[in-house]
């Protein structure tokens, strides 16, 4: 498997090309099958390579030069080390399941081939991002996934709202990407200036060796390492929807649900976390940057959770929950617990993918209805979806022994105990954990339990999803339950597989003390599960039966509720303070800048002056011969005067 690394990204690419070109001629189902198989084989190769990496260490596959100009040498090189192995496994694994799910979900859609072409193209880009050996190639994948998310969000482009959601996603990502490029350039030029012309290389291994250089040289007051780390983090914020640049993710729900599952839950949004873990040597060398990452992560988690609790659209709830869980991952990475960040990333891919696919199946059944207030009592008609949905909800809430419990517990512990963390972060994390449990079970309860609030006609069409959709649900449910095994804490006598597996990737790990005694660990786990159970219980108690009571509470705190349900008016603020002034300024530039100043005063001004001059000189021509004679005489006088004066007479 060592030399077949390049096949992992190439297979989905070939699949995408097939769907886009040849697939158009063949019946619909062929494109679907080819796409699924492509990702399937890629998954097989990925798992094989991952196993090879587990046995023999990292694999590198060089495929020639991309740009070679003077100091800048960027090769098309792929490398799989433990971190990439995990990510590849997640991307291809979950990706494959979602592709299978999509076969059913998109069966009746006109753009079937186009959908699968984009999905495969996305997988290709994500794999390039994950396997890239140098930063620019990572950036290629980075923008590639941004493009695919643009194409897939705006998949049903007839609806202008959906199309503009896609555009919004791409532009916000682009803001992050611009900062990312700046970070890359800073790293590159610091090396070149330090080591002479030949020294600039953006390979991760080279960057790793030169990390001391980044910590010493300073630029504008801070060390280069900090500035670069922060710039790359802004890029990560753009891609992983963290606080300042998260606005595109809720709108991204305009895309088909499997897309939301794959891109906006499992893979793309985690790219930011992967990048920071990949550049862990840079971050560990820049404590200030790590603090920023941690605090932004924690505050995003809480902020998103606060909004999620009042959302009525099932996909919006899951979207904000994703943002919140990503906040957790950034919190983990921010305090130095890189492996627990990746562990949570993996488990999150399982249960969030499950939840999204479940939501998809619900929407599919409810013939497009997404408002949970109009659902209810679906447990009767959609048994499998209901069970798997509740398993997912329990996992994310942190129900003991499920995957979410272990990964979130590890992060909260690290947040508290890590030298880079602190009790404040723990409080934020804890609060978010409670809120997560609450809004997840609120959503599940409203959707599945109690009496059905759907209209008669919708209720009539209720039906369980076809097996091609239910099967992935079951598989993901199993993974959500079993996923915790990957990172069992020491207390339960298991070696933390994920921690050890990622050991070689982390260059200078932050020392996070383990709980001294098993008792302390058990105590800690008990406290965490207590918080989760409280949240769940309160939600289950409140929602299916005491809906009126919930409405009354909402009524009493009207302003707070309105604030949260309207997403703290962030979109409106952006529109007011960014988009409109920009548009106004451009209009001013165009109409006044070009119109009046350059064209008006400049061009037409000079033209007017020339015409004026022309009229002035022709006005001398009165047609009267004696006036011409006077003009001549005056000219002669001037010449005479000049001669005499200059000739030294006067």
């Amino acid at each position: 498997m060592a030399d077949s690394l390049h096949w992992i990204p190439l297979l989905p690419l070939l699949g995408a090309l097939f769907c886009a070109t040849v697939g158009r001629l063949l019946p619909k189902i062929c494109s679907g099958v080819v796409a699924v198989l492509a990702v399937g084989f890629a998954a097989a190769v990925a798992f094989g390579s991952a196993w090879h990496v587990h046995e023999h260490g990292a694999i590198v596959s060089r495929m020639g030069d991309w740009i070679a100009v003077g100091p800048l040498k960027i090769g098309i090189d792929l490398a799989m080390d433990p971190l990439s192995a995990v990510m590849c496994a997640v991307v291809t694994g979950v990706g494959f399941l979602i592709h299978v799910y999509s076969l059913g979900y998109m069966a009746h859609d006109a753009g079937y081939r186009r959908y699968f072409a984009f999905l495969n193209l996305f997988t290709f880009n994500m794999l390039v991002l994950v396997l890239a050996k140098n930063l620019p190639l990572l950036f290629v994948g980075w923008e590639g996934v941004g493009l695919c998310s643009y194409l897939l969000i705006g998949f049903w482009f007839e609806d202008p709202a959906k199309a503009s959601a896609g555009k919004k996603a791409f532009i916000v990502n682009r803001i992050g990407d611009a900062a990312f490029v700046m970070g890359m350039l800073l790293l590159f030029w610091t090396q070149v200036q330090a080591t002479g012309v030949t020294g600039g290389s953006l390979d991760f291994s080279d960057l790793q060796e030169k990390r001391s250089l980044f910590e010493t040289t300073s630029w504008g007051g801070w060390t280069v390492g900090t500035v670069a780390a922060l710039l790359l983090f802004v890029g990560a914020c753009g891609k992983s929807a963290q606080l300042p640049l998260y606005v595109w993710l809720p709108d991204a729900m305009a895309g088909p649900t499997p897309v939301s599952a794959l891109i906006h839950a499992a893979t793309m949004v985690t790219a930011g976390v992967y990048m920071i873990v990949r550049m862990n040597f840079l971050y560990t060398g820049a404590p200030a940057a790590m603090a920023v990452v941690a605090w932004v992560g924690a505050s995003t988690a809480l902020f998103a959770a606060l909004i999620a609790i009042t959302q009525t659209d099932i996909k919006k709830v899951l979207a904000y929950s994703t943002i919140s869980q990503l906040g957790y991952m950034f919190l983990a990475v921010g305090v130095g617990a890189f492996s627990s960040g990746i562990f949570h990333l993996t488990t999150h891919a399982f249960f969030k993918g499950l939840l999204f696919l479940g939501a998809g199946s619900v929407i599919h059944a409810m013939s497009g209805e997404q408002d949970i207030r109009k659902m209810g009592g679906l447990y009767r008609m959609l048994p499998y979806t209901c069970c798997t949905f509740f398993v997912g909800a329990a996992a994310i809430a942190g129900f003991p022994l499920l995957s979410g419990f272990f990964s979130k517990d590890e992060i909260l512990w690290a947040a508290w105990q890590s030298p880079r963390g602190g009790p404040a972060l723990l409080v934020l994390g804890g609060l978010t954990a409670a809120l997560t449990a609450f809004y997840m079970f609120r959503c599940a309860a409203l959707a599945f339990l109690g009496a059905s609030r759907a209209s008669e006609e919708v209720r009539h069409h209720l039906h369980e999803s076809p097996p091609s959709m239910v099967l992935p649900l079951l598989l993901l449910a199993v993974l959500s339950v079993v996923g915790g095994a990957l990172g069992l804490p020491h207390a339960l006598g298991a070696t933390n597989f994920m921690g050890h597996f990622l050991e070689p990737v982390i260059v200078s790990p932050v020392e996070i003390p383990h709980p001294h005694t098993a008792l302390a660990e058990l105590g800690w786990m008990g406290a965490a599960s207590a918080v989760a159970l409280a949240g769940m219980g309160f939600a289950l108690w409140l929602y299916p039966r005491k809906l009126a009571l919930a409405e009354s509470w909402a009524g009493s705190w009207r302003r707070l509720h309105a604030l949260s349900s309207n997403k703290f008016y962030v979109d409106e603020l952006y529109l007011l303070f960014v988009v409109l002034p920009l548009r106004a300024f451009s209009f001013v530039c165009w109409k006044i800048g070009d119109g009046l100043m350059i064209d008006g005063a400049g061009v037409h001004g000079i033209a007017g002056a020339v015409k004026g001059g022309g009229n002035a000189t022709t006005s001398l021509q009165t047609g009267n011969v004696q006036h011409s004679a006077i003009l001549l005489w005056a000219g002669g006088a001037v010449v005479l005067g000049a001669f005499l004066w200059l000739g030294g007479f006067a």
Binding site: V610, K611, G613, G614, N615, A616, T617, T618, L620, Q621, G623, V625, H627, S628, A629, L631, L632, A634, G635, G636, V638, V639, L640, A642, F643, L644, L646, G647, G648, F649
Partner: protein, 506 residues
């Protein structure tokens, strides 16, 4: 030294033209005023011009190439110095005058027929005017210069007023005459003062006298040269003295306008250069600064005025004023170099080349204006030329070539001429003149291209109709080829002008 046969041989072109002129008058007296009667007279005049051309070529073989020292002829016994001189410089300019006269005759044939101006005298006067020009170019004595100036001017006053019944032609002749007479009177007085200061009217003597440092009568010489400069500036229609030009050019019959703006301007500059390079040989007379000022005013004034014109002839009049400005730049360079280290080969060859190129392109432009026109009616407004771009493709292309050349856009002779002129200006350090020159030529691009715009980009149903006259077409073809050939390969002709210029000084 009495008048020797060599004197007659040196001045043979002038004599041939005068001879043919009088012959024409006699022949005209005999033939009537019928429609086809002008042909023999025109033929004869062309033949006369060709004969003079042959004489010029033979003389060039002898004198022009610098092999043999230039000859000074008709030196009166007791008098001042030689009257005229035959050297490379004169012969180059003679070629220019013959070219202008020849093209004018070609153009005027069809024109006179159509406008009922069947006067045999027209061709005679053209020949006499050309003879006057040749005399001007070769004048070695201020008085001879004055007289040759008058010979040419008198012929032109009559030519302007040829259409007796047309008020405009009459008025143009009158204006030209009054201002002309006024300036020749100023010239006479100027010559008198210069004679008073230096004791002789012969240019070499003046040059020697003026360059002696202990020069007592400096003030008289200054006033005299100021008056001479004024009179000559009138002749080349430099801005402060250009009052007469637009009206004279617009009023006169079109072939005469063509002849005036090309031949007359060339003769005026030939004489101006020769006089200036001798009168201002010494540094005491601040000619460079004065000419610099006049050049600046002419370039700017000429171009600005042309922008607002609506009549094609009047626009071409102002454009010829503007071109006088560019030529003055060459003259400033020549005088500046003459005053610093006495050499005369900077500037003068560029002036000669520019005049050849200018003659070709202006003649071409006027030929096209003449080409369009019907019985007793001419199309002179700029708007008339709308839409002919695709209706008469060949003429439109020719007219565009002439306009581009006048504007100085590269593939044409106009560009090479301007390049040479500004090259000599920059050589003598007058970069500011060159900058003003190029900027004003951008203004000229506007009003020249306005015609191209009208021809190609304005759509009209009823376009103007031409009357086909083979002679005018020939004139257009000759000048068109000349403009393009000089545009791409100016080298050889410029070399001729340079050889001519070397023999200018004495």
């Amino acid at each position: 030294m009495p008048i020797s046969p060599q004197d007659f041989w040196c001045s043979s072109p002038i004599l041939i033209l005068c001879g043919f002129g009088t012959l024409l008058l006699i022949v005209d007296a005999r033939c009537g005023k019928g429609p086809r009667d002008l042909l023999p007279i025109a033929g004869l005049s062309l033949f006369g011009l060709l004969a003079a051309g042959a004489a010029v070529l033979l003389l060039w073989g002898e004198f022009g190439s610098g092999g043999v020292a230039p000859v000074e002829c008709f030196t009166p016994m007791g008098g001042m110095g030689a009257a005229i001189r035959c050297d490379g410089y004169v012969l180059v300019f003679d070629a220019v005058f013959l070219l202008a006269a020849g093209l004018t005759c070609l153009i005027s044939l069809g024109y006179l027929e159509r406008m009922d101006l069947r006067f045999g005298e027209f061709f005679a006067l053209i020949l006499f005017a050309t003879a006057g020009m040749m005399l001007m170019a070769s004048a070695m004595d201020l008085v001879v210069a004055l007289l040759s100036l008058e010979v040419m001017s008198i012929a032109l006053y009559i030519l302007c007023g040829l259409a007796r019944t047309d008020l405009r032609s009459n008025e143009s002749a009158l204006k030209y005459f009054i201002i002309g007479a006024f300036s020749s009177a100023v010239l006479v007085y100027g010559i008198a003062l210069v004679y008073g200061a230096t004791g002789s009217t012969a240019l070499p003597d003046i040059a020697r006298a003026a360059s002696r440092i202990d020069f007592a009568r400096g003030d008289l010489l200054l006033v005299g040269s100021a008056l001479i400069v004024t009179a000559l500036c009138f002749k080349i229609a430099a801005v402060p003295f250009h009052g007469w030009a637009p009206d004279a050019y617009e009023g006169a019959p079109t072939p005469v306008t063509a002849f005036m703006s090309t031949g007359v301007k060339a003769a005026a500059f030939a004489m101006f250069a020769r006089i200036a390079l001798s009168l201002f040989a010494s540094y005491t007379i601040p000619a460079t600064e004065v000419l610099w000022l006049i050049a600046m005013l002419t370039m700017i004034g000429g171009n600005l005025a042309a922008v607002v014109q609506t009549n094609v002839k009047r626009m071409l009049a102002y454009s010829s004023i503007a071109h006088a400005g560019y030529l003055l730049v060459g003259l400033v360079a020549a005088v500046d170099r003459r005053q610093t280290d006495g050499s005369v080969t900077v500037g003068t060859p560029d002036i000669a080349f520019y005049l050849i190129a200018y003659t070709l392109m202006t003649m071409g432009a006027f030929a096209v204006v003449v080409w369009f026109g019907r019985r007793r009616r001419e199309y002179l407004l700029i708007e008339d030329f709308a839409g002919i771009g695709f209706r008469h493709p060949f003429i439109a292309i020719a007219f565009s070539i002439f306009l581009l050349s006048l504007a100085g856009i590269p593939p044409t002779a106009g560009f090479m001429a301007k390049f040479g002129l500004f090259r000599s200006a920059v050589a003598t350090g007058h970069t500011d003149l060159a900058v003003i020159g190029v900027l004003t030529s951008v203004i000229s691009v506007y009003y020249y291209l306005r015609l191209v715009v009208l021809m190609y980009m304005r759509e009209t149903e009823t376009g103007i109709t031409p009357t086909y006259s083979p002679a005018t077409t020939l004139a257009i073809v000759v000048s068109g080829y000349g403009v393009l050939h000089l545009g791409l390969f100016p080298g050889s002709l410029w070399r001729l002008a340079e050889i001519g210029a070397q023999t200018l000084a004495w």
